[in-house]
């Protein structure tokens, strides 16, 4: 246990960086842009390094919250500033701090207007993300949870593509529904328990009928965030319009807030209702897996295709969580970790050629394996991870999640496994259209292969994808005891096992 508030430091360090850019980098010009980029890069890297210390101080065997910071904030309403992590949330903190420097690198190549502001927005986003995953006070949690939307809106709205207004709009309308309902539910819970401390909510036990309503309210919010079918239609638009760095954060971290919320709030605080509604969630997950995989087959826009594949992959997350057994929950966590790196990498891959040719239309490319062999290799490896090839991170999670589903009901696994076939179909078809065939278009032929900056983005992601795929134990060991505890508590409270 360190004698300094490490979680607060990593939450607010990026904010400090943002302020630094705001205050110190004055005026416009190449030099200023460069300064802003450098500050953002080094601050986010520093944050990542410090966040790794949380892993060092973290004791996996302890299934409670650790590194807790507790300050009285608004005493009159018992609102406190409480931070802490457990085995589940510590990983989400790390992925947030890990992805941000990569996003900065991507933005250095891809964002050319209002560079300074973009860097500020990215750092702000990072603060918010770390804030969500480390907050143990419900009000604080809610502030971060909703606050994230501001920089994300700005990133889509200012640096986005042509239809950014419509995209941001749609994003808002969905989230609006979830946010309001969640806020009401939080108030109701706080009133019932008498404190805003989230730790007190776990195991507090809510009256049956109330729990049902609370669960539905949270479900609305998390189902939109995850996103689950049929609340997913904002995602393809948001991705398509967002700049590359925005898509990376969106797919890599923001979607995980849904999964995290399901585990932390729905399952941990409302176990009975969660078990009760499990068939609903699983049903929607299975629909999502098949439905969005089929839709992905029909796409002609690269980003839309990968966005739909994200929905399908997140289907394995909710499927795993609500199977209520160990492989299922472990699988859900592994899918989330893997999806973070793989989807981030795939969006970065799209960004590579988008930066060169400024189009996402798959038909505009073709034959790139001829002139960009290194890019082709990198894309191939991430594509294989996305289709869940054993030996890559994609497989570990999908396998466990489906194993969990099978233990609950063989139909679940049967349908989910169909998605594995479809997943291969749309990804191979995408790859074939981008990379194979003859190199006929002159502008495609003129594109240079990966540069050093792009290597720097991809290599860490690639290393992680293979590491998790071959030797996932160091990752799993951190969250496994907590996940086991959560599961046994849930089943105990929900009375009897499910499935």
């Amino acid at each position: 246990m360190p004698n300094w508030p490490i979680l607060s430091v990593i939450t607010f360090l990026p904010l400090v960086g943002a302020l630094l850019i705001m205050l110190c980098v004055r005026g416009e010009g190449k030099l200023q842009e460069k300064a802003a980029q450098q500050i953002a890069l080094w601050v986010s890297l520093a944050t990542f390094v410090i966040s790794l210390l949380t892993l060092k101080y973290f004791d996996p065997a302890n299934t409670g919250f650790q590194l807790v910071e507790n300050l009285v904030w608004i005493p009159a309403y018992k609102i406190a500033y409480i931070k802490g992590v457990d085995g589940i949330s510590v990983w989400f903190v790390i992925i947030s701090t890990f992805l941000t420097p990569i996003c900065v690198l991507s933005a250095i190549g891809g964002v050319h207007k209002r560079v300074k502001e973009f860097m500020i927005a990215l750092l702000l986003l990072e603060s918010m993300m770390v804030g969500v995953f480390t907050s143990l006070d419900f009000v604080l949690f809610y502030l971060f949870f909703e606050g994230i939307l501001i920089p994300m809106f700005l990133i889509i709205g200012i640096w986005g593509g042509e239809k950014r207004t419509y995209a941001a709009y749609k994003f808002f309308l969905y989230t609006f529904l979830g946010s309001v309902l969640m806020l009401v539910a939080i108030f109701a819970m706080v009133q019932h328990v008498g404190t805003t401390d989230m730790r007190a909510m776990i195991g507090a036990g809510f009256p049956k009928e109330m729990a049902v309503w609370l669960w539905l309210a949270f479900f609305a919010s998390f189902a939109v965030k995850t996103p689950m079918w049929p609340f997913h239609t904002w995602l393809p638009y948001a991705h398509v319009e967002a700049p590359t760095a925005g898509s990376v954060i969106l797919a890599g971290v923001l979607l995980k807030m849904g999964g995290y919320g399901f585990i932390r709030i729905a399952v941990q605080m409302l176990p009975e209702a969660s078990v009760k509604f499990a068939p609903l969630v699983i049903g929607l997950s299975l629909i999502a897996i098949i439905y969005t995989s089929l839709v992905a087959l029909a796409q002609s826009d690269m980003k839309k295709l990968i966005a739909y594949s994200s929905v399908a992959h997140m289907g394995y997350v909710t499927l795993g969580i609500f199977s209520f057994n160990q492989p299922g929950l472990d699988g859900a966590m592994m899918v989330m970790l893997s999806h973070t790196f793989v989807s981030a990498a795939l969006f970065l891959c799209v960004g590579v050629v988008y930066d060169r040719l400024h189009t996402r239309d798959i038909a505009r490319y073709g034959g790139m394996a001829h002139n960009m062999p290194k890019y082709a290799l990198v894309f191939m490896l991430f594509m294989l991870a996305s289709v869940g090839l054993p030996g890559t991170s994609g497989f570990v999670g999908e396998f466990l999640s489906m194993q969990g589903a099978y233990l609950a009901n063989s139909w679940y696994a049967f349908i989910a496994a169909t998605g594995v076939v479809l997943g291969a179909a749309y990804m191979l078809w995408l790859y074939r259209r981008l990379f194979y065939g003859d190199l006929t278009k002159d502008d495609v032929r003129a594109m240079p292969d990966l540069n050093a900056r792009e290597y720097a983005m991809f290599l860490p992601l690639l290393a992680l994808v293979l590491w998790i795929g071959i030797y996932p134990a160091p990752f799993r060991n951190v969250f496994a005891p907590t996940a086991e505890k959560i599961l046994s508590d849930t089943l105990k409270l929900a009375g009897g096992s499910h499935g």
Partner: protein, 650 residues
């Protein structure tokens, strides 16, 4: 054992693939060839030494490498498990692979991506080795999917060709359908046995022989269900009827690939799987019956298609599929050692035939259509001789008790075991296998005569350039040819004779009352002679058709009409699948996207609401910034503040 032979045998090819794959252009062609070939030869040497240590000196090697996937009671590790079955596979895989590596040095010498090709070949070998050395279902699955990816990459090696692109995707997807079954089988095994470790599964299988499980809402016999699910995986990888459509198309890949992956090794993975799981399949007799029937049907259907094709590689591809059918029905009648025997001999003579065909194609400037060949045996006599040897082995020519080519021993053992099993499916398999033996001989000599004899049908240009292949191409064929001649004779004792029990140890398991290989010795003489009769008459008929009465094939085809067209068009499997699955999936995807997402969810969800809001907003005030979401966002904050205020006050 002083050297870690197992590690060398498995990881040397991986090392080669990584060095050459990453070094690619920096290394250069020659270095890439030397590194991969040398490491493959190391692996092959290690495999032979392992075979000696494990199979002949009766040891079993187990080496734990690294924990892999754990969750609850599920605990899977990377590990190497080498018993006799694995040792045989190691020799086959590394032996054929090293020959194919050397052959490729010559065959691909004009290609501009030599390092990439060599790296892919080595990578394939590594995955195949991980598959056969696995001690659990999951690592086997790793190798299984890995060889699938390597096969995908190699079929598509000439990626500028659309036909190669399509063939590679087809191969991957059809195999994924098989893997879908494999995965469900693994899930089922974990549910049943609480482990997916082979030793645990085999130890508990006998007690669970009569257990039922609920699968997809039905109460089914547990072991039969998981065995059949796993067998779906085997059907995909080994191109059994129904999931076979990818194999002929896979011939788009360079010929060394067809020899190594689509003849000698990868496609036999399914046979290996069933043999490896013999202690499980033995307690699921109904599953075995299905295996036998599927194998027998594949055997005859593929052989019949082979009669009609004109592409030299496709003829051999259908022949491969048909021979795999033999192996499966052997496994289906519990004659696992016969199945592995044929797997081994087939690897020799089929790799020989493919590489020989490659030599022909090389000589004919890339021509693959047998209608444009003929009369070249004098130009390429060495290739011609090697093709004869391969065909004699494939047709199973030999005289009982004297000497025979490799296929003679293994194929006859399979057929005799089938009839000796005394089951209806054994008898069915025997009859179909016998008919297929006739067809095999026929299409083999059809191939030889069309390719090498008669008047040349090639154009002058091609003929002028026709030449015997260089030594680097011919030399690797020699060990394969030796195998095609002697492998059956030399290995008979281990696979079908007295030494069987000692040789295999616990690697294969057969319930004593179903030991069909032992019973095969006592079948009537007639059953032993019929296969040879079929082979000889097939050869004779082919000679009559293609060398004497050369107008008969066309007459025959036209008089058969629709039946001939059905066979020639491969029974329309491709067309049916395209119509049923490919187009349906595309259409459904398009429908769900345009009608589902845009037409329904959005129309009645966000867009509907948004439209109403916009109309309201437009009426209420002029939009200044033009971004409605600014207002919308202000709204959510407003609502939040409003509610908070109420709550704090109350």
């Amino acid at each position: 054992m002083t050297l870690p032979l197992d590690l060398i045998a498995v990881f040397a090819p991986l090392l080669g693939a990584i060095i050459v794959g990453l070094g690619n252009r920096a290394l250069g062609d020659r270095a890439a060839q030397i590194i991969t070939c040398a490491l493959m030869l190391c692996a092959a040497t290690a495999s032979v030494m392992l075979f000696n240590y494990v199979a002949l000196e009766h040891h079993v090697l187990d080496r734990m490498l690294l924990p892999w996937i754990q969750s609850g009671t599920l605990n899977v590790s990377w590990a190497l498990h080498i018993d006799t079955l694995t040792a045989v596979m190691l020799v086959v895989v590394n032996g054929v692979s090293s020959m194919v590596h050397i052959y490729s040095v010559g065959y691909m010498s004009h290609d501009k991506s030599i390092p990439r090709f060599m790296a892919y070949l080595s990578l394939f070998s590594f995955f195949m080795l991980m598959l056969v050395t696995s001690s659990n279902l999951l690592q086997m699955f790793f190798g299984w999917e890995g060889v699938g990816v390597a096969s995908y990459l190699l079929i598509n090696f000439w990626f500028h060709k659309t036909s190669a692109n399509n063939a590679s995707i087809k191969a991957f997807l059809v195999n994924r359908v098989g893997d879908f079954g494999f995965m469900l089988g693994i899930f089922g095994c974990y549910l049943l046995f609480d482990s997916i470790q082979f030793t645990d599964i085999f130890a508990r299988a006998p007690q669970l022989a009569d257990t039922q499980i609920i699968f997809l809402g039905h109460n089914l016999p547990a072991l039969t269900t998981v065995c059949l699910l796993l067998f779906v995986g085997a059907m995909g990888k080994s191109a059994q009827l129904g999931l076979h459509t990818w194999l002929p198309d896979a011939m788009e890949g360079p010929t060394p690939v067809s020899a190594l992956i689509h003849a000698a090794t990868m496609v036999t993975a399914g046979v290996f799987m069933v043999s490896r799981l013999s202690p499980l399949f033995e307690y699921a007799p109904s599953a075995l019956a299905v295996v036998a029937v599927v194998g027998a049907l594949t055997c005859i259907v593929a052989a019949s298609i082979g009669l009609t094709q004109f592409d030299i590689k496709r003829v051999i591809a259908y022949s491969t599929m048909s021979q795999l059918g033999y192996m499966f029905f052997a496994a289906g009648v519990s004659a696992y050692s016969a199945a592995v025997f044929h797997l081994m001999t087939h690897a020799f003579f089929k790799a020989l035939l493919f590489l020989g065909a490659g030599s022909v194609i090389h000589a004919m400037s890339g021509e693959q259509d047998m209608r444009k060949m003929g009369g070249i045996w004098k130009i390429i006599p060495k290739t011609y001789t090697l093709m004869w040897i391969g065909s004699l082995a494939l047709a199973g020519i030999g005289i009982d008790g004297v000497f025979g080519f490799a296929g003679f021993y293994s194929k006859d053992l399979i057929l005799e075991s089938a009839i000796a099993s005394g089951t209806w499916y054994g008898q069915l398999a025997y009859v179909l296998g016998l008919a297929a033996a006739f067809m095999t001989a026929f299409y083999s000599w059809r191939l030889i005569i069309m390719t090498f004899h008669g008047k040349s049908r090639a154009d002058h240009h091609t003929l002028d350039h026709a030449h015997e292949s260089p030594l680097v191409i011919l030399l690797p064929l020699v060990p394969l040819a030796l195998g095609a001649v002697f492998a059956g004779y030399c290995a008979w004792n281990w696979f079908g004779g007295e030494g069987r029990a000692v040789f295999w140890g616990h690697a294969l398991f057969v319930v004593p009352e179903r030991d069909t290989v032992a019973a095969a010795e006592h079948v009537d003489e007639i059953y032993k002679w019929l296969p040879l009769l079929m082979g000889v008459s097939g050869i004779t008929l082919a000679y009559v058709f293609y060398a004497v009465k050369t107008d008969w094939p066309a007459k025959c085809a036209s008089s058969l009409g629709a039946a001939y067209r059905a066979v020639y068009n491969k029974y329309y499997f491709d067309e049916a699948y395209d119509y049923l699955f490919v187009r349906t999936a595309r259409k459904l995807g398009d429908f769900l996207w345009k009608r589902g997402d845009d037409g329904f969810i959005d129309r009645f969800g966000p867009d509907g609401v948004a439209g109403a809001v916009v109309r309201l907003a437009q009426r209420a005030s002029a939009i200044e910034t033009g971004y409605v979401y600014h207002y919308a966002f202000a709204m959510v904050i407003g609502v939040a503040v409003f509610i908070s205020w109420f709550w704090l006050k109350g």
